[in-house]
């Protein structure tokens, strides 16, 4: 059906765009490759886990930076984890901000950390929106009877 093909093309284009803009990297491909019949929702499942975990981490980070005496070790631990999980799903831009964030932590630069927190929050919400859009498109394709052209 035309709509299916169109939808599929939309999906592909959107995905390519995300890769080009650096929101996603090859790790996301790996993720998609892991999806199969036994786990048809694997990607969504893992990404959802990532969202939940990240939001928790971001909350913790905000709290930690608000403290009178900032515990940089704790912040570093959180950022490290965020870095790990974002890299696992291929959220490249989030991961990159985390790297800079950790440097500021090491320097105990409160302003740098706050700036990075702001940045990482922004990147996170961006990639979250993008991925949610992606998943929506996928569902549309599937609903229209098409198949998802992964891996790409």
């Amino acid at each position: 059906m035309d709509s299916v093909v169109q939808l599929q093309r939309q999906l592909v284009d959107y995905t390519v765009q995300l890769f080009n803009e650096g929101f996603l990297d090859d790790q996301f491909n790996q993720l998609q490759q892991l999806q199969d019949e036994s786990n048809p929702d694997f990607v969504v499942e893992v990404v959802t886990l990532f969202f939940e975990d990240s939001e928790r981490l971001l909350d913790e980070l905000a709290k930690a930076l608000e403290q009178q005496s900032v515990d940089y070790t704790k912040i570093d631990a959180h950022v490290h984890q965020l870095k790990g999980s974002s890299s696992s799903i291929g959220a490249q831009r989030v991961q990159k901000v985390c790297i800079g964030f950790r440097n500021f932590c090491e320097e105990r630069n409160i302003e740098g950390c706050q700036k990075c927190l702001h940045q990482v929050k922004r990147e996170y919400s961006l990639v979250k929106t993008k991925l949610e859009t992606l998943f929506k498109l996928e569902r549309k394709v599937l609903a229209a009877g098409g198949s998802i052209p992964w891996p790409m």
């Binding site: 490759q33 975990d53 790990g84 291929g90």
Partner: protein, 659 residues
């Protein structure tokens, strides 16, 4: 080929048991590597889910755990149900390296570390702690496909070791006996250099050797005796009571009075214990590796100056191979987010090690003290404090107090009387602990608990440190910190054995890197923030991580202060570091001076708290394989020799202290 066949057969066996422990009950065919039973531990559930999926696609049998403590519990309950463990480095409830060490000690499982942190220093720590591999996140499926190689490799090496273990142990036993005798004689005679190797054999040793030799082959075939913490403590008490030189399995058995325990069990355990002690004492002999060791670490040096010094002291005093010291320190210090980085220590260690040997032989007492003094000057002001305490610490031990070499050096007070020494050690330990406390260690939990582990020898130190409280140690340092210098020691010893970075690589090959490193890792793990010890200060039952520390304590010389050590470690203050190593040193020293007496007491008390097995495991890489407890003994063994080396009066260390 034979080895391969053995490995293959063992694998085949394990393969056939693949399905046995699986929760799902899926029968895994014997097509290795399919069906490999993997346990994944990661607090990041995103990664966990991802890894699980990838491993399943590799046809492995996967069990996931988001908490290290839960994973440890699971592994303990279902020993033999897993072939390999994948663990993240940064976890909230327990440091991945600590888990790594524990696993290596307790169950000799291959452990692969994972982390988003791919810095050389972090990877180095993984190596030091005994990880089979270190994967950098994000992990790809291809990397996971290959993890089975570590299982095979380990099994292969294990079977090789066992193959040679009989002859090796026999030969080694003699050698060790000799060495022990040598140490003892040198100590008692006030031999100039602790490092000297004298070929004297005490009659008692010969007897023991003969006994052990005879027993060993048979013991190895007997059903394994689980040397629990309590049992080991009893053993150590008995040994201390008899005196390490005169401890024969029969008498030990009688003293222990444990039903069901055979003389062969005791003999085998004793042999390991002696090996351990020997390793501790023989560490100093090895040198040169420090270079290698220091090399990689340089990148992140954040080591406490103290840590360095400690090692120096240790090297100087206890003849611990620089590398070992370095390794220990590295471990201890390097724990927190890799910040502690051993690298710093290493350079220091190297120096220390270099200096150490020189110092000691030259001027038995003076050299050490002098060196210490020198170190002191270098050290931060904290050191001076330490220095003082070092003096008090037994000569030999002075070297250990990691905190400040200075403490060791000034050891002028040491003068070396055994009783004095022990007291000194205690004092030193106390001081260290105190210092540490004031400095940073905030939490060190009851030192006594942790440190006491040291088998027979080291027990004493722990007492001094606050933990002792048991009052075994003459000095009864019990003051707050019992940070176990011992811990350092233990770290050292394992390392020393290796003389290479691999901590825990006993020269004999006994030590398992895992064990050693674990131990040291333990020490390091306890950084204030992460140390399990810290939080638990009060309780002996330090968290699992602490436990490891404790185990370390048990290691002769490691001192119960492991927890302390850790704490200090976390504090990221040099102080912390100083304390630890120092303590260990002191602790060790004490042991020698008060052989058995202190050690036994403390050991027992600490043992109960500590996870004995862990400790053992660490110390004894090889031995662990066979008996978890064995590991421990080795450690203890190591500790004891050290003690012997540092006779209150004769050892150089002692004199150094006095200096």
């Amino acid at each position: 080929m034979a080895a391969m066949q053995r490995v293959a057969s063992s694998l085949g066996t394990s393969a056939s048991t693949y399905g046995s422990c699986k929760g799902t009950g899926v029968k895994v065919s014997d097509q290795f590597p399919a069906g490999l039973r993997v346990l994944v531990v990661d607090d990041d559930i995103t990664c966990l889910r991802l890894l699980e999926k990838m491993l399943r696609r590799c046809l492995y049998h996967v069990t996931t755990c988001s908490q290290a403590t839960a994973a440890l519990k699971l592994l303990r309950e279902r020993k033999g149900c897993f072939d390999v463990v994948l663990s993240d480095v940064h976890m909230p409830d327990m440091d991945g390296f600590k888990l790594l060490e524990l696993l290596g000690l307790e169950m000799d499982l291959p452990v692969i570390m994972m982390s988003a942190d791919g810095r050389t220093s972090a990877v180095m720590r993984g190596i030091i702690h005994g990880a089979c591999d270190y994967l950098i996140k994000p992990i790809r499926e291809e990397e996971l496909k290959n993890i089975w190689q570590h299982v095979i490799r380990k099994k292969w090496h294990d079977s090789k070791e066992q193959e040679h273990s009989g002859s090796f142990e026999d030969n080694d036993w003699h050698k060790q006996g000799n060495d022990d005798a040598e140490i003892a004689s040198s100590v008692h005679e006030g031999a100039e250099g602790v490092l000297k190797d004298q070929k004297k054999r005490s009659i008692a040793k010969e007897e023991d050797d003969a006994e052990l030799e005879n027993d060993d082959p048979s013991a190895s075939k007997k059903p394994r005796v689980v040397w629990s913490v309590e049992l080991h403590q009893q053993f150590v008490s008995a040994v201390n009571h008899l005196g390490i030189d005169k401890a024969v399995p029969k008498r030990i058995l009688e003293l222990m009075n444990v039903p069901g325990l055979t003389r062969e069990n005791v003999a085998s355990h004793l042999q390991k214990f002696r090996l351990y002690l020997k390793r501790l004492s023989g560490v100093a002999q090895q040198g040169g590796i420090s270079n290698t060791f220091c090399g990689p670490l340089d990148s992140n040096v954040k080591l406490n100056p103290l840590g360095r010094y400690d090692i120096q002291v240790l090297a100087a005093s206890s003849q611990i191979p620089p590398q070992t010291l370095a390794a220990l320190h590295a471990e201890l210090f390097g724990h927190p987010a890799g910040s502690m980085v051993t690298t710093v220590d290493q350079p220091a260690l190297l120096q220390a090690s270099m200096q150490g040997p020189k110092c000691i032989p030259v001027e038995p007492g003076m050299a050490f003290g002098q060196r210490l003094v020198k170190c002191q000057t270098n050290m931060s002001k904290r050191f001076p404090q330490n220095v003082v305490s070092a003096e008090e610490v037994a000569p030999g031990f002075v070297a250990w107090p990691s905190n400040s070499v200075g403490t060791v050096g000034p050891g002028s007070n040491l003068g070396g009387m055994s009783s004095q020494n022990s007291n000194m050690l205690m004092d030193l330990l106390q001081q260290q602990s105190q210092q540490q406390q004031s400095q940073q260690l905030s939490s060190l939990p009851e030192p006594s608990r942790v440190i006491n582990v040291q088998p027979s020898c080291l027990v004493v130190p722990s007492q001094t440190s606050a933990t002792f409280q048991a009052g075994n140690s003459p000095a009864s340092v019990n003051q707050n910190y019992s940070r176990s210098p011992m811990i350092d020691y233990s770290l050292l010893s394992p390392q020393s054995n290796n003389s290479s970075l691999n901590i825990g690589q006993v020269s004999n090959g006994d030590l398992k890197t895992t064990g050693v490193s674990g131990y040291s890792g333990l020490g390091s793990i306890s950084p204030l923030s992460s140390c399990s010890v810290n939080p638990d200060n009060s309780s002996q039952q330090v968290q699992s991580s602490t436990m490891t520390i404790r185990a370390a304590r048990q290691l002769p010389g490691l001192g119960p202060d492991i927890s302390n050590f850790q704490v200090s470690y976390g504090a990221k203050s040099s102080e912390v570091l100083d304390q630890g190593p120092l303590r260990n040193l002191g602790f060790v020293g004490k042991c020698t001076s008060i052989p058995g007496r202190l050690a036994v007491d403390e050991f027992e008390s600490t043992m109960s708290n500590l996870e004995h097995e862990k400790f053992y495991m660490e110390m004894n890489g090889n031995k662990v394989k066979q008996e978890p407890y064995v590991e421990f003994t080795d450690n203890t063994r190591v500790g004891i020799p050290i003690l012997s080396q540092l006779p209150p009066t004769s050892s150089d260390l002692m004199s150094v202290f006095t200096e």
